[in-house]
């Protein structure tokens, strides 16, 4: 078996051992329920209070504005459903984009069934929404704008501060799904005028099953899970203390290492993009070159299909992902790739590689060499490529 090369950090990340170490005491040593009165349990409560402060500090929020959840999807669901519930008397219109994560899109579809009207803003070829179009879409009855900070598939970073300013000026709440952005790029809820922000622990080398929702003070919000008084009575259920401690430790670490990590990952990212563009023909970069998550590389390779590529990479110990239909169980390729204008047959040939700071240049060299072989092999089997070569008169194909 080849040495594992993990390039799917947008799916999930390795829990760092030092973070696990911080979590460990809260499993079987300080296992008290933080809601209990005795001193023993107060140890757990203290850990949660501290975690809330640490997470708030990363985004420039107040600790009481941070609500712990079971993860990014829950945060997205809660944000939109709660705004819809609390403000439907003001209006039933929500603006989002076509390239949001399904946690946002499917929640919006649910709200449509409940009588809400949703505007799905298109994006341009690089994946950006148009700010003028956003402005024009805002109506009297618009209650919320939900635009992701950075896209999970193509890495495009939206002009969050500009969106926040527009929303604030119009008196509309701004929610951002920052699951891919939190801990990866600087985020400030004050500077960017963000009213609600969703994030998750396991995308930043923290544990799975824990996330948070930032809710700006003053926003009416209805309880999401009914039960105990946890999370200011808004989200009942005994706290996942080790998870919370782990996410906070990961957030703290992410904050401390942010600058160096961005530099390192950006240079690895650009190295890989450059090599692929130079050495693999008929490869199209998805997303923006300048406003892109430091860890995201996304390409479409023409004439081949993504799942085949993934299985062959897996055979070489390389973990990657694709927006091809076959990886989703549906016939349609990724809604994100279609939204940026990739035709179906090209969108099927997508490959996403997402870095962590632990990846090395040597690993990326292995990936490029393997990828070249795999793509050549799959193109050799592809009737689309055969047809394409036949259209190239005089055999001027550069393959």
């Amino acid at each position: 078996m080849n040495k594992l090369i993990y390039l799917d950090n947008a799916a999930t990340t390795k829990l760092y051992p030092e973070i696990l170490k911080e979590m460990e005491p809260y499993f079987s040593e300080y296992y008290g329920n933080p809601s209990s009165i005795y001193q023993f349990a107060q140890k757990s409560q203290k850990a949660i209070d501290l975690a809330r402060e640490e997470i708030a500090a990363v985004i420039g929020a107040k600790p009481e504005e941070v609500y712990f959840t079971g993860g990014g999807s829950e945060s997205d669901n809660w944000a939109l459903k709660a705004i819809a519930d609390a403000y439907e008397n003001k209006g039933k219109h929500i603006i989002t984009s076509k390239i949001e994560h399904h946690a946002v899109l499917h929640t919006c579809e649910y709200l449509e069934k409940k009588g809400f009207e949703i505007t799905y803003l298109p994006v341009n070829e690089e994946g950006f929404i148009d700010l003028d179009e956003l402005k024009k879409s805002i109506r009297e009855d618009t209650i919320c704008i939900s635009i992701m900070a950075a896209n999970n598939e193509i890495g495009t970073i939206q002009p969050i501060a500009e969106i926040g300013a527009i929303a604030r000026e119009k008196g509309v709440f701004f929610h951002t799904d920052a699951v891919q952005a939190f801990g990866h790029i600087p985020l400030s809820v004050e500077d960017m005028k963000i009213d609600m922000l969703s994030a998750s622990g396991h995308k930043i080398h923290g544990p799975k099953g824990i996330g948070f929702l930032y809710i700006r003070k003053g926003i009416k919000i209805v309880p999401y899970l009914h039960g105990g008084a946890q999370e200011r009575g808004k989200r009942a259920g005994t706290h996942n203390v080790p998870g919370i401690v782990g996410m906070a430790a990961a957030a703290r670490l992410a904050k401390e290492t942010l600058k160096g990590r961005i530099e390192k990952e950006t240079s690895l990212r650009d190295y890989l993009i450059e090599r692929i563009e130079k050495e693999i023909p008929f490869a199209v970069l998805n997303g923006s070159k300048s406003h892109r998550l430091p860890n995201n590389i996304s390409f479409c390779f023409r004439f081949i299909e993504g799942e085949s590529m993934l299985i062959m990479l897996d055979g070489k110990g390389i973990c990657a992902s694709s927006g091809s239909a076959c990886t989703s169980g549906s016939l349609d390729p990724s809604h994100v790739l279609l939204a940026i204008g990739r035709p179906h047959e090209i969108a099927h040939g997508s490959l996403r590689l997402t870095l962590s700071e632990e990846n090395t240049k040597e690993e990326l060299d292995v990936v490029v060499e393997e990828l070249k072989k795999i793509i050549e092999r799959l193109r050799g089997m592809s009737p689309l490529y055969e047809d394409f070569l036949q259209t190239q008169t005089g055999g001027n194909s550069n393959v």
Binding site: S308, I311, G380
Partner: protein
């Protein structure tokens, strides 16, 4: 997710390629859905499939079913080849995940398409052979 047989036929696909001046060529599927299969049959005067090759754009299951389907039809008469159903291809591969069953349907249709092309060229009637559809998803929806 895939059986060992599927993985074997995906990693070491049999009969990849083209046949120049083939007796019959059939292409099914569409790029929109992410699978296209093209099969080439060399058929002798006794209506025996002497050689079969394929080219496929698609997922692991699409490549593996193409490989297995061409293996199954080789050496068979055109009438026998018509009996190579999607179920036969699946069974020979020790099964497919439910979401990949359509790949085996595509393989069956590709066999029919290549035979149809052969019958057209030779002006033959093959009992039980119907004009293939290009969009397999429409047929089996």
């Amino acid at each position: 997710m895939y059986s060992e047989k599927v993985m074997d036929h995906f990693e070491n696909p049999r009969n990849v390629g083209e046949i120049q001046n083939a007796s019959g060529v059939g292409t099914v599927g569409n790029a929109k859905c992410g699978d296209i299969m093209r099969m080439y049959f060399q058929i002798d005067e006794n209506k025996i499939i002497q050689d079969a090759k394929f080219k496929t754009f698609g997922c692991g299951a699409a490549i593996a079913t193409s490989s297995m389907a061409t293996e199954l039809v080789k050496g068979k008469s055109v009438e026998e080849a018509l009996q190579v159903t999607n179920r036969a291809v699946m069974e020979a591969l020790d099964g497919l995940p439910p979401v990949k069953v359509h790949c085996s349907l595509l393989a069956e249709e590709a066999i029919h398409a290549a035979l149809w092309d052969y019958a057209q060229k030779e002006n033959l009637h093959i009992e039980g052979l119907q004009k293939p559809v290009e969009d397999i998803e429409e047929l089996h929806r």
